[in-house]
């Protein structure tokens, strides 16, 4: 089954969100948005000066650095993160990756991330 992902940049890393979760990309800062910074707590976080905001299907808004592209992927392009790694991760919102010909992009499940963030 083919899925479509919005690839965006956060803290100089590329992440992907299934487009079924995304209603719109906003350029103006909304009243309330949720940061992805806690995911990068173990790295030296490099913040971007410019931010964009993803209006999600559940009404929440996620703050990102910059939207980059849309990638269509088959099921075979989506691989699971090893169970042993998932067990030691601080979040359940990352369990899959998107493999392209030259890179691995981490897939973020925004619903789980928002549940953890609230």
């Amino acid at each position: 089954m083919s899925r479509s992902f919005l690839v965006f940049e956060k803290a100089q890393h590329e992440l992907a969100i299934d487009t079924v979760h995304v209603l719109r990309i906003l350029e103006d800062r909304p009243e309330l948005s949720i940061s992805l910074d806690p995911l990068f707590a173990s790295s030296s976080l490099v913040s971007s000066h410019r931010h964009y905001y993803l209006l999600l299907a559940n009404g929440s808004v996620l703050c990102i650095d910059e939207p980059k592209k849309i990638i269509n992927a088959d099921g075979a392009d989506i691989l699971r993160i090893p169970d042993t790694l998932q067990k030691i991760m601080y979040t359940k919102s990352i369990s899959q990756v998107l493999c392209t010909s030259d890179s691995i992009i981490i897939i973020l499940n925004p619903s789980i991330y928002l549940e953890e963030a609230i």
């Binding site: 995911l39 173990s42 993160i81 090893p82 042993t84 990756v97």
Partner: protein
Amino acid sequence: MIAEQKYELVVFSLESTFYAIESRFVTAIRAHIKITYVPGCPAFVLGVINLNGSIESVLDLKQLLTLNPSKVTQQQKILLISIGNLQTGFLIDTIEDIITIDQQTVKPPLTSLSETVKEFIDGSYVQDKRHIIILNMKKLHQHILESS
């Protein structure tokens, strides 16, 4: 300690220090592959790699041993290990040797090592004036699983 009288070790270097792992835990050695950072992981997780369609984690052995973080370079290699249900890679500088040693020739860990590091070490072995730190993979495995 390891039960067998003789055992085979894979010796590798990491920033001028020599370490060894029992060869039965080593599944492959790969040239440096681009490591993708995974958010939400402990600091000793450098990221993941794609190994022939399978995603594997890569760990920083130095941070696991509570030492300063390793410097990541393109010349490094990835030592893939398997123990219990854990398959992962350690970033290393070079593979130095594969040696078979007698258990009785293993000396206690160097006194200069910290107590934390000693916790994950079976002992040390001296070869050609090189001090080789023999890692206890079972204790490291346990430490990794308890690090969440």
